[in-house]
Amino acid sequence: MSAALPVVRAQELADGEWHRLHPATPLLRGGIAFLAVVGVLLNNFRERIIDLFVGAPSYRGDPVDYVIDRGLVPLALLAVIVVLALFVAGYYLAWRFHSFRITEEVVEVRRGILFRSHRKARLDRVQAINISRPAFARLFGAAKLEISQAGHDANVQLSYLSGTSADALRAEILRLASGARESARASAESAPVPANVVERRVAELLAPEFDPAAAPPESVVRMHPARLAGSVLLSESALVFAALLAGLVVLTSLTGHYYFAFGFVPALLGLGTYLLNRFTKSLRYSIAATPDGVRVGFGLLSTTNETLPPGRIHSVAVSQRILWRPAGWWEIRVNRAARGHDRGSQQQQRSTILPVGSADDALRVLGLLLPGIDLDDVRLGLAARGVPGDGYTTSPRRAAAIRWFSWRRNGFLLTRDAVLLRRGAVWRELVIVPLPRVQSVGVRQGPILRGLRLAAVHVHTVMGPIDARLGALDPPDAAAFFRYVERGAIVAARGDTSHRWRSGEATA
């Protein structure tokens, strides 16, 4: 690798040449690791540090005493410094060996010192582009750019870039991926940047999630923190939390023993952090339409902000848990082809597009996610029960045997470009699958369904939290559904150009 790689500048990152990442990358990655090490050390030395002030008896025979007793302190310090230097050198080398290139067709990343890896991803298969700014990196104005591809753990990560170049690079990648012929580079120059470094950082911290030049500044949904807090409190996990807490209090006060705490406290802590995380991660939520798809932003201190190009959403579910019904809140989740290696909570966040919102909010978000959809159909899909003549084909009366409360609601609607499945009376849900994204369709009949002269249908999409199936239908209706979806999926997929979503546009 030659040493003469060009200096990184925002507009030139996507010119087809090899580039390096932000020069502060070793510091940011090493710095986070360093903080973690310090944290672990502090945790282990906690007692010792407390002893220092309280003056309790020391612990004989542990390594620290050994070092102090033998007068090896300078040597120990030297060892620490050498180890740190090695780490810094390692991170520096890793940065030197980490470079990326973006051409018209692909994005490539080369990395690794001993074990080299070279990843190449096609731009027309981009599923989403995510810019995340961890709190620590934000202080340095750095951001992580992640290009998600279909498949498990199939993303290309560029960490770190400077915040402004990450935004510009995303716009450029989206332009290349969209198939638009004309460069929009001229408009990529954004608002005047304050000269002073401190002012610039402050401006970046306070700035809205969206570059005003690239997206309408208004989010279509206003997320009030109180509503978010209410939605978290009115969830099953919050109820479990309250029940556990009450159980602990009652048990402790009745028996007078405190050892119940050992059983309860870990569970309470776990649930509490989960709930708190759900709250803080969804703060400062925003969603807006851009020419290159929907942009969703989350987060207070560590922010993420993701662009989903058109046609990357494989199915959408609008759901309302029973506790939310008095408030009239809805949640929107999606199935998407990109699956990260993250833990469950993060996965959940990635599939949640609207954490909580009123019916109107949900409709506005759906309008962004599925531009072709008729919102009147959706409104009927959210209604409490089906009305004859609302267009939905619902279960027959005899289905009440297995759909006690929901047989009037349980139904489907077939439109020109989507399938709407309406189900659940207690936990209401409306699942929408765009026809071009249907992978296959199935119809099923087990012994119980057959006994009741019913059948079930299942629209297969990529894996995700949403399962687009609908049971307890009249068999002729199920057969009609099957025929329509099977035919419609083929026709819709043939006419679909969303992998190069702007290729149809005239050269502007």
Binding site: R437, Q439, S440, R444, P447, V462, P475, F482, A493, D496
Partner: protein, 160 residues
């Protein structure tokens, strides 16, 4: 009976030899499950210990007796733009997969199938739930079908 079946479908059946494979594997599974459910009877002195193995044995026997019909119920049809697949009598399932949705085609052969010259063809899409597995195809048929499917998918290629 043909309520949910697409009209006008002319199903292609799998090889009758597959019946042997299915019978043997059903028998072995049933026998193993029956023995396992009889463990409380063998090891302990549970009075009602005879109930689980008898129930499991009867269910296994019913499944075994229905095997020929089940094998006859497996069918597939190559249509203009999609592959139609059906299986099951108790639990009936019909799936239509557009060729363009194909991600890959697998051909698998178990030891018993190999002895009879049979293969199993698996049509994989981006959706894990599609689950189209055609068992009991003669080796040459399976390979011809695979090449045919790949060619059809190639000419109808669509995005994800």
């Amino acid at each position: 009976m043909t309520d949910i079946e697409p009209p006008g479908a002319t199903w292609r059946r799998v090889s009758p030899k597959y019946l042997v494979v299915d019978l043997v594997s059903t028998f072995v599974t049933g026998a193993v499950l029956t023995v396992l459910s009889a463990l409380p009877l063998i090891l302990g002195h549970w009075v009602y210990g005879w109930i689980p193995p008898v129930v499991v044995g009867i269910v296994a026997l019913i499944v075994l007796v229905l095997t020929p019909r089940r094998v006859r119920a497996i069918g597939y049809e190559l249509r203009e733009d999609d592959l139609l697949f059906r299986r099951g009598i108790m639990f009936r399932r019909i799936v239509a997969v557009p060729y363009g949705r194909m991600q890959l085609v697998d051909i698998n052969r178990g030891p018993l199938s190999r002895a009879l010259g049979l293969s199993e063809l698996k049509f994989v899409t981006a959706a894990a739930s599609s689950g189209v597995v055609i068992p009991g195809l003669p080796q040459e048929d399976a390979e011809r079908l695979r090449d045919d499917l790949v060619a059809r998918a190639e000419s109808r290629r669509v995005g994800l």
